[in-house]
Symmetry: C2
Subunit: 391 residues, 2 copies
């Protein structure tokens, strides 16, 4: 039985998500927007009966059992944690900081019976599902190098907002890089141990952002990840990706272009996902072969939602349907169909890598990726003083 | 009047160079090979009347006024410097070390009337000539990022040799990376100030190289260059490329592929050379436009000589003809046609960058590029001891 859905967000992803949910038979009962106007406008456009700018109105809505959170990163943690506390299943986007991500992990661990996934749509894209499968089957032999690049037009909003602010989770690294960090870990079954990166903001002001306002988020970045031990539990075998070098190049100063390419190279061949299509070549083979074309499927490219994300989102919604529909109770779900999803733990890892890359860009050095195991105490200095006085 | 040519080397470049030289009207009078057999075999194949394994036999040959040196890097300095000393014009490939490159600079400065160029064919490739011109004309606006990538099959020789040895100038960085370092400096009119890199040798042994022998040269590398002040003299304007980030990815574990792509991105558009063709897109334009196709021209892809190098080599030989033919005396040459060539000073800069990248790969840190201004004294320690004793 499919749960009723409440959607947080009025951006481009929320806009394409609602029709996708409905297409799979979900009912969308409530929409939250940052302002009454934004909520009302999109609710009207999409024909959603209830809209609000009060998060509790959605979280406490009796018909809402699954909450989809596609809002600015600094608000994500608060709503996701609250939703779990109220007993709702959660699909959300990345948080703003590793501390936020850690709090989300804690909440998810506290309510293991609830669905809690970071909705990185790329994991569900058929090209990457097939790539992961072929990697596990040894198509490329021993994996050596992953090379991902995404080029596209500016990620900035029309007006000044979180997309302009590095500290609010804006920028190519946080927005797009994080999906690739997650994907590469998913594909290789390994996690980054050390990273090195360089971030740049080439466009500091534009027609919409000027005066005293200035963009601090990156529009160009490249980073390298040296992969180590296997990702917890769900990796492709153990240690497959150990010693692998991953390089990622992101450039969002390329109006009119959209390039999304992920290549994995091994001792026996290589696999390349260009956009939504998968190509492969084995060493000694005749040439590159198309392994998986784009099925076309629902919808064309939507403004601000690149095709790989759109298609992946479609597959993810299908997986959600599969997870829920065989269940008798509308809050229950089956593990299988969403087993490939990114967990909140994965989200914490990704956030940790993103922050290590930013640190590396400032220090100029390789930085270790050390995933938080306990929440940093905001009063640590105070505690130390108290401890000293006690003795 | 065209000078008679002596060719050093029996490798794939020497093999394609001889027909190109003859095509422009040069006569090739002598061929040098490392061994009598290699020299004899290629001389017979190409119909060169005189061959030898003694370098002096070519350098002192009365009909040879232009020496083309395409041999293993550790031998280049010795022959190039000697050729200049005997009064011959020199076109050569890169040296093995910065110290060698510095000695070549000293020799070139001592004989300014002689031609002395490091034959980086990419500078002459029409696609890059056009790219440099368009950059100077402001096609891309303010330059931000250069991104170069070359993927191809292994660079190792059939048998164990210098290509396997990092210290002898083997590896993708030294062989191919150096041509890109030179090209990017030529295109941007700027030089790398700081570099960061990562080198890997994924294939340490193969069917031909095994037992106690092991490959030490890199087959994968990824490096970044932060560009600073303008290149001496010949740059495109001054400071055009200052602050530009260059990223270079080289992967030679890709049998059956050859990808050669150089992209420059600026505030107003971008230019992309794919193989020998040049594409461009201006921001707000309708889409990518083909700016320069491959004219086809002489010959198809030759084994081990990628098309951009082959075509560039052809253009370079044409430029050499133009430099020499209007002259009355066969050792004289005109500056104009070869003004875009890489000088020995450029060669020293390139070698310095290559060594800084290697250093960075070992240290994990950003390394400064400091071009040598005086030869390091091999007896420095001894001198210091003497100095101490004197006091």
């Amino acid at each position: 039985m499919l749960p009723g859905v409440g959607v947080f967000g009025t951006g481009s992803t929320a806009r394409v998500l609602v029709p996708l949910l409905r297409g799979e038979g979900f009912e969308v009962h409530a929409l939250w927007g940052r302002s009454e106007e934004e909520a009302s406008s999109l609710a009207q456009e999409l024909g959603i009966l209830f809209h609000t700018s009060q998060s509790d109105d959605v979280l406490l809505h009796p018909d809402v059992d699954l909450v989809c959170i596609y809002i600015s990163p600094p608000l994500t943690r608060q709503i996701a944690v609250k939703a779990l506390g109220i007993g709702k299943n959660v699909v959300c986007e990345k948080a703003a900081t590793a501390v936020d991500a850690f709090k989300m992990v804690t909440a998810a661990q506290y309510y293991p019976q609830l669905l809690s996934i970071v909705g990185n749509a790329l994991r569900f894209l058929p090209a990457f599902v097939a790539m992961r499968q072929l990697l596990a089957e040894g198509y490329v032999g021993e994996l050596q190098v992953c090379d991902a690049r995404v080029y596209g037009p500016s990620l900035l909003d029309q007006s000044y907002g979180w997309t302009c602010e590095e500290l609010m989770g804006g920028g190519g690294l946080h927005t797009v890089g994080s999906t690739l960090v997650d994907l590469l870990s998913h594909l290789t079954g390994a996690r980054a141990v050390r990273v090195h990166g360089l971030l740049r903001t080439f466009v500091g002001q534009n027609g919409a952002i000027h005066g005293i306002r200035c963009v601090t988020s990156d529009d160009f970045s490249f980073f390298q990840m040296l992969m180590g031990g296997s990702a917890s539990g769900r990796g492709v075998g153990t240690g497959t990706g150990s010693g692998v070098c991953c390089t990622v190049t992101l450039n969002f100063n390329m109006p009119g272009a959209f390039v999304h390419e992920v290549m994995v190279v091994g001792s026996a061949g290589r696999l390349i996902a260009r956009g939504t299509e998968l190509y492969g070549q084995r060493n000694g083979g005749k040439g590159e072969e198309l392994l998986l074309g784009d099925s076309g499927g629902t919808g064309q490219e939507v403004k601000d939602v690149p095709l790989p994300h759109l298609r992946g989102l479609g597959s993810m919604v299908t997986a959600l349907k599969d997870a829920f529909q065989a269940q008798e109770e509308r809050r229950l779900w089956a593990q299988g169909p969403v087993a490939m999803a990114s967990t909140f733990e994965d989200g914490l890892y990704v956030q940790t890598v993103v922050e290590a890359v930013k640190r590396s860009s400032r220090s100029g050095e390789w930085e270790s990726v050390e995933v938080m195991t306990q929440e940093p105490d905001p009063n640590q200095n105070l505690c130390e003083v108290l401890l000293i006085n006690k003795n």
